[in-house]
Amino acid sequence: MSGFRLADGGLIDRSRPLKFTFDGKAYTGYAGDTLASALLANGVRLFGRSFKYHRPRGVLSAGHEEPNALVELREGARREPNVKATAVELYDGLVARSQNRWPSLAFDAMAVNGLLKPIFSAGFYYKTFMWPASFWEKLYEPVIRRAAGLGRASGVEDPDTYERSNAFCDVLVVGAGPAGLMAALTAARAGADVILCEDQPRVGGQLLSDREFIDGRPAPEWAVSAAAELAALPNVRIMLRTTVTAAFDGCFAALERVSDHYPEPSAFQPRQRFWRIVAKRTILAAGSTERPLAFPDNDRPGIMLSSAVRTYLNRFGVAAGRVAAIYTSTDDGWLTARDFLRAGLTPVVLVDTRASAPAAFADVAKAVPIMLEGAVLGTEGAKGLSAIIVAAGGAQKRFEVDALAVSGGFNPAIQLASHFGGKPSWSENISAFLAGGTAQGVEPAGAAAGVFGLAEIFAEAAAAGAACAAAQGFAAPAPKLPTVAQTSTAGSLAAWRPNPAKDGKIFVDFQHDVTASDVVLAHREGYRSVEHLKRYTTLGMATEQGRTANISALAMMAQLTGRTIPETGVTLARPPVVPLALGAVAGDHRRGAFRPVRETAIHALSSEAGAPFVDVGQWKRPQYFPIPEDADLAATAAREVETVRTRVGVTDVSTLGKIEVLGADAGVFLDRVCATRASAIRPGRCGYFVMLREDGFMMDDGMIARFAPDHFLVYASTAHAASVYRHMLFCRQALWPELDVNLAAVTDGWAQFAIAGPRSPAVVQALVDAPRAITRTVFPPMSAAELTICDGVPARLCALSFSGERAFEVAVPAGYGAALFRRILDVGAAYGIAPYGSEAMGVMRIEKGHPAGSEINGQTTAYDLGLARALSKDKDHIGRVLSARPALNDRKRARLVGLTPLDPNDRLRAGAHVVETGVAPSAASDLGWLSSAAWSPTLRSFIALGFVSGGPDRLGDEVRIFDPVRGGDCAARIVAPCFYDPNGERPRV
């Protein structure tokens, strides 16, 4: 027990006590506390164990830079590992547990790793565990994996919801400390639209932690009044609990923690909201992070960043310990000493690495023993700090303390500016890196710009705010700058001298247990680039991304290599600034809303009819229309096929892409886009088309209906419709803008049904309005007409057959689709009509040998599909030239054929391979594969389409169908791809 709650002070609400538990033990804190401050106030100092050596760890910081105090928060499905206790707002009923320890936090058996530290040095695993090779997966790796990792994921679906949203502004201000508030005020007063994002639940930043006075009032009060002025302006949006977490081209991403300060989100509220913010200018006023100092055993609970000590003292009313010492290389330690004094706690010693005491702190120098040019040589304590050994002026002294505030300077929070890859630049002045260049309109201000004195911060932030507003055409009035009692400091780097005996316990990266000796080892083994250092030792790769670690390690490497720090360089900061829940980024694109679906006009009808649906691209298509008499779905498909082959069936083909091509040059245009000659289709007729990609491979095939000389309608396949349309737009806009042709995708406007089977003409006749006759002579196959049906409903009718029977496709405006489908079933009843689904359609098209998606898969050519004869050779069109390349016309290519098993009941499946018979199946005997296969109720046999090397030259040959991944193996014969009515007589009857 060391830390405790002061009798008064702090920005907590002592009238609202909150109960919570940590490792099952009950505690009480106050509204306004973080989990860390509340635990410290209760005297808890041991928060967790380190990654590798399981050393006891406490709280180092008061923010997102915390490497040590990680806990598992909440329980059950809401359990969240690796939560920084310093960044959790306390709420009533909070439950937290320590992690990465066994059996308990106080006694962690894994701490023996610490004894083996000399073995577990950086990169030790690269040098061993190699023999025998098979032991890695079986033995070594499982042990390493179990030992590694921090907390435990819940392992079940997150019950909370998330939202995404968009915001736009002239000026985005990141951070509402003095710099952010001042910049926002200036820009907003000028009239610019301002968004001010603040990570914390309240504005003020460092002002909440320090005993500053602004305009004669305590600084937090000034912050509140500045926020009030901003909130009153209509052009300002203040977003609290919102961390700007990444900079992307053209926008920022921010996370709003809407409900994390409640046990669970209230009804209709998301847990978090992920913002995309588009800002014309951005002011980065995100403050700075303090650096610890490097000394042996610098990781004991009770050793804390100096500014964090002040944060606990002033913002939370918590003293970090009862007997404190200070070890600093900046004025910040002196500020902390002064605040300790004010709280009635006199530090036992202030050790400053510098040679002289800062003049502004004469009051402190008088009250506290000071050791200049001093160093902490070591610390003592079991589960927490109990003493420090200090050297100064040749003498060593031991002090019994339970808290040590350390300060090694400040790193400006420039991460967001670095996301664009800009190299940070070193500032000798503050011994830290500043944002390099102002990338993409991001302007650092305040501590983030390396300006630490409050008066200068106000002046420079106001100027930045004014400049941003001015860039958007808003003239800012000269700002009235608040008056402050000036305190300014700069950082310097504490000297570190390699000392093999002690370096092993100088922790640089606390969470990953990277020590000074690891840096020395990396140097010795040649990992001297900072990026190699990082990757070899894992320095800076932990959950706080080296915020507190990187500079010390860099300084060490610089010293070892005899280079300067800027020569040594710094590792790159990457998004996100603060770790970001995957659920939040996904937002509400979850479950069914992951991706949109497309439904046809008869979707509801089909599902009422019990039809299962199949995904084709984004579409849902009814796959079968089962009736109770069907034994199973295979029987359904067989019945549906039989119905079409013998009577009449109706199916929904609305998903076919429909592209209107209109204009005087429509025919010319299509002749260039298609490999077939579309212009040869006469008005009132349909024609087959093939489209190639420019590289000569098949893009799509389908039908074109021509309704008038200047009006064509292209029916693209469902799967390719979108890309075909994009391609045609490209041809129209980029390649041949001179042509008089307009395109429109009208797929969604029409419900279209195929009515197929020998009795289809009668059904169609019953639909169309008089006096049109649907006869073989008046409306033969390949006819197309615009007409009315069902007493005046506009419709398009084409005599097209995909099934191989006499068939029609009738389309009506989509709003009539459901009614038309019912009507077709009604009038068709007399003819024995039944609806059929995509499965039966697929069976029939395989029986007919029509290529579909699995044949036109982007890897096949018209030649492969046996369509070469349909192409016109004598005109230039997309894909014409490259389709003539030799390899694309090689007879040995895998080309389309049909396959029938010698035993008709031997199951063929798409994906099986075709291999030579009589030799062992191998890559050498592999001839090709089956692309589509089905049971053909018509032929009473399994049949398949497939691609076989030189296939059309081998009709009649016996081959082996080899499907080892599904245990299939049978003999089959190569046949022509059309199994049914090869001469196409049936549609003409």
Binding site: F248, E694, F730, E738, V881, L882
Partner: protein
């Protein structure tokens, strides 16, 4: 990334599809199967300058106004220098 569509104004990347380097379609020689024709198309379809720097590209404002655009962009910084409608004759597009 924000692309300033000449018709729609600044819009997010997700509304667009990108085709890659903006290249003209070669004229096929009279003999479509001549070496010259083929070489021209092989070059145009497959070979790229792929510069690290300014690059002219074809983009489609797919879920916007469906215009194909020519965009000049720096492939190192993603800075966009301009976006225009690809169709030179798109009358009065800049209203």
């Amino acid at each position: 990334m924000l692309i300033n569509c000449p018709y729609c104004g600044p819009r997010d990347l997700l509304e667009f599809t990108v085709k890659g380097e903006a290249r003209a379609r070669p004229d096929a020689a009279a003999d479509l199967d001549s070496e010259a024709s083929r070489a021209g198309f092989v070059d145009a379809v497959y070979l790229r300058d792929n510069p690290a720097g300014r690059h002219k590209e074809h983009w489609l404002h797919a879920s916007g106004c469906q215009s194909w655009l020519v965009i000049e962009r720096d492939t190192r910084t993603h800075e966009i220098f301009g976006a225009s409608l690809v169709a030179s004759d798109a009358e009065g597009a800049k209203s």
